[in-house]
């Protein structure tokens, strides 16, 4: 619900409650006022009758005086104290054909020793009419209120909330990778100024943290590579100092370990970079060409491992992604299919406009295939691989909106990459 709608709803609910109470109050006030007026009018009439009686005028039992058909004057044969009684009475209304509440004023007067009963009743306005009038005027008021509220609402959301919506828009367009915080814009409203200042502080903190994290990832990689380079160099110098083959095997395994460490730190840095969205999309990559060249460059390893490769590659499949990521994704997948294969095994590569599939023969994985996309998950825990390849592939796929699936069936590993949003 929009703030504006909410504001109007609350406002109108309160208005309705106020109007209902106001209606009841006005109804009773108006009714009281009318009855008071009527009462005075009746009393005046009674006073006049009394005056006429005192003057010696005699009335018939029921006589119309001043056009008042309801006036009743009776001579009583008993003594009654002079008093005035005011009450209600229900009287049949001829036109409306219903009982109508009327005001009734009854007076007892003693004139020259005789007691008289003087009474009259009537209504100027029916109570229904009062109700109608009250409701009608209240509806008018309510209508004006609604129009006013909507008008104020538009004014508020259109003009007053402009800085708020502007801030919102800026937050929506905020990109951490651009490493620019959102400076607080000056408004004349304290709340908005507070909000903008808060946004400024928050974004500049986010930018600093992001920069630190990124620098840390890069520096960590850098700081690791230099000592590794030193160790590697020393070992190379050591191999030239006349080692026995036995000693050399130690050196060689150390070399391999260093190589692995270096690859590990490189892969982690790459993974961090992908997670930080440092590779912005924006280029058309010809996947067909990439795949063909990739297979070509591995020909030697394929034949050395006695593998057989089947290819069905559609021409000119274009994908919108970062070329480096495309290369890494394909290389990781294809190298995996060579490495985790069996002797005299097979590899099937299929590329269409919508899908890249890689199937290869290989030993059954010891963990569920879906888990192999997690970091440091390896099908064979003793293997020399670092266990980040598929994790990197998954991150690249996620970032480019590709769907990735991995199944194992009848000795075949099948990886499908659904290339959504492919332009061909």
């Amino acid at each position: 619900m929009k703030l504006f709608t909410r504001f109007i709803t609350i406002y109108l609910v309160i208005t309705v409650i106020a109007l209902v109470i106001g209606g009841i109050v006005s109804y009773s006030v108006i009714k009281d006022e009318i009855e008071t007026e009527l009462k005075w009018q009746f009393l005046e009439r009674i006073d006049r009758v009394t005056y006429l009686l005192e003057k010696g005028r005699r009335f018939n039992r029921v006589k119309k005086i001043d056009g008042d058909r309801n006036l009743a004057i009776r001579q009583l044969d008993r003594y009654e104290e002079s008093r005035v009684e005011i009450g209600d009475t229900m009287v049949w209304h001829d036109y409306l054909e219903q009982m109508e509440a009327n005001l009734k004023v009854t007076a007892y007067r003693n004139i020259d020793g005789t007691s008289y009963y003087i009474s009259t009743h009537g209504a100027i306005i029916e109570s229904d009419d009062i109700t109608e009038a009250v409701i009608e005027s209240l509806l008018w008021i309510f209508g004006i209120q609604v129009a006013g509220a909507i008008g104020v609402g538009f004014l508020v959301s259109g003009h007053l909330f402009k800085p708020f919506r502007k801030t919102l828009e800026r937050i929506r367009n905020f990109q951490l990778q651009e490493k620019r915080h959102l400076p607080a814009a000056k408004t004349n409203v304290k709340e908005f100024d507070d909000l903008n200042r808060f946004v400024e502080e928050m974004t500049s903190k986010a930018v600093t943290d992001y920069r630190n994290l990124k620098e840390f990832a890069e520096n960590a990689s850098h700081e690791l590579q230099t000592p590794l380079a030193i160790a590697k160099g020393k070992l190379e110098l050591l191999t030239e100092s006349g080692l026995t083959p036995n000693q050399y095997t130690y050196v060689e395994s150390l070399q391999r370990t260093i190589r692995k460490l270096s690859r590990l730190s490189e892969s982690l840095a790459l993974l961090t970079k992908i997670e930080n969205h440092e590779f912005k999309n924006g280029e058309n990559v010809n996947l067909s060409q990439l795949v063909r060249e990739g297979i070509h460059s591995f020909e030697e390893f394929i034949s050395l491992n006695h593998l057989h490769v089947e290819m069905a590659i559609a021409d000119d499949v274009q994908v919108q992604m970062h070329p480096v990521l495309a290369d890494i994704m394909w290389m990781n997948l294809f190298q995996n299919s060579i490495r985790h294969n069996v002797k005299d095994g097979e590899i099937n590569v299929q590329l269409t406009d919508s899908m890249l599939s890689l199937s290869n023969t290989g030993p059954e994985p010891t963990v569920p295939t879906a888990e192999l996309f997690e970091r440091f998950r390896k099908a064979d825990q003793n293997s020399n691989s670092i266990g980040l390849g598929l994790s990197i592939v998954r991150h690249i796929a996620d970032q480019n909106g590709f769907e990735l699936s991995y199944t194992f069936e009848d000795g075949w590993h099948n990886i499908h990459v659904l290339l959504n949003g492919v332009k061909s």
Partner: protein, 274 residues
């Protein structure tokens, strides 16, 4: 013999008599030396500057390269390096990007201004494509990512030097083997032999790292780069070496490629071999 009568002329003659043996001895040996140097000229003449702040790494590179007889100088920070590139001329300069008191890329720019003919290799811990592109755009000839192999570094230095406009020569000579790096052809005793691209690459790598022991892993990484990362079996290196060796020997070359048991191979061109 009026010749001998005058004192000054006599002294000149005596001087000649004394000089003759020297000339006779020094000149031929000079000729011999020049023939000898012809093979080693490229490496012996090369002047290098290494800009790297890490003491150990500097020492590693120095130790490896000094065996080739390079004149190798080092600087540990930007200011030192700047002074040196302004004052002297080098054939090849190795620059680390992250150095104290400045940036390697900045130094690269200064160097290109001052001595555009100098070969430049960036050695960086950052395997970042941006840096690589920036460095090469600024005029670096090559970019190496740490940790690199010392034989690989040496091969790259030589390659950069060969391509160098002023002092480099496109021909690598190892006794009877002549490698023309422009035409990418190999001549043994002036007869061309046909090598596959990988065999050619392998021979050039051996020639760039004469008398060094090269492990199978090192060779594999040079020939196939990062692809070998995931391969546990390096037997294919042996295949290529076997073929290269066969071709060289059948063309009449000495068998320089020695197998070092359990370690790898060595391209041995030391005197005793000949």
């Amino acid at each position: 013999m009026a010749f001998f009568r005058s004192e000054p002329s006599a002294s000149i003659v005596w001087a000649y008599l004394i000089l003759i043996p020297f000339v006779l001895i020094i000149f031929p040996s000079g000729i011999i030396a020049s023939g000898f140097l012809q093979n080693y000229w490229l490496s012996y003449d090369m002047k290098l500057l290494l800009v790297e702040d890490n003491e150990d790494l500097r020492q590693n590179i120095l130790t490896y390269l000094e065996r080739e007889g390079y004149i190798c100088e080092t600087s540990a920070d930007y200011d030192q390096a700047f002074d040196k590139i302004i004052t002297y001329t080098y054939d090849v300069v190795l620059i680390d990007i992250m150095i104290p008191k400045g940036n390697g890329l900045q130094l690269l720019g200064e160097l290109k201004n001052e001595h555009p003919e100098t070969g430049i290799i960036i050695i960086s811990a950052k395997n970042s494509l941006d840096d690589k592109i920036k460095g090469l755009e600024l005029g670096a000839d090559d970019y190496m990512t740490k940790p690199f192999q010392l034989p690989e570094l040496q091969a790259r230095i030589k390659a950069v030097h060969r391509r160098n406009r002023l002092s480099g020569s496109p021909v690598v000579l190892v006794n009877e083997i002549r490698i023309n790096t422009l035409a990418m052809e190999v001549l043994v005793n002036d007869r061309k032999i046909g090598l596959t691209p990988k065999e050619y690459d392998l021979l050039l790598y051996f020639a760039s790292n004469k008398n060094h022991v090269l492990s199978k892993q090192t060779i594999a990484e040079h020939l196939w780069g990062d692809y070998v990362d995931h391969l546990e079996n390096l037997d294919f290196v042996y295949q290529h070496i076997k073929n290269l060796r066969k071709k060289l020997i059948s063309a009449g070359s000495t068998d320089y490629i020695e197998s070092v048991y359990g370690i790898g191979y060595k391209f041995n061109v030391s005197e005793k071999k000949q």
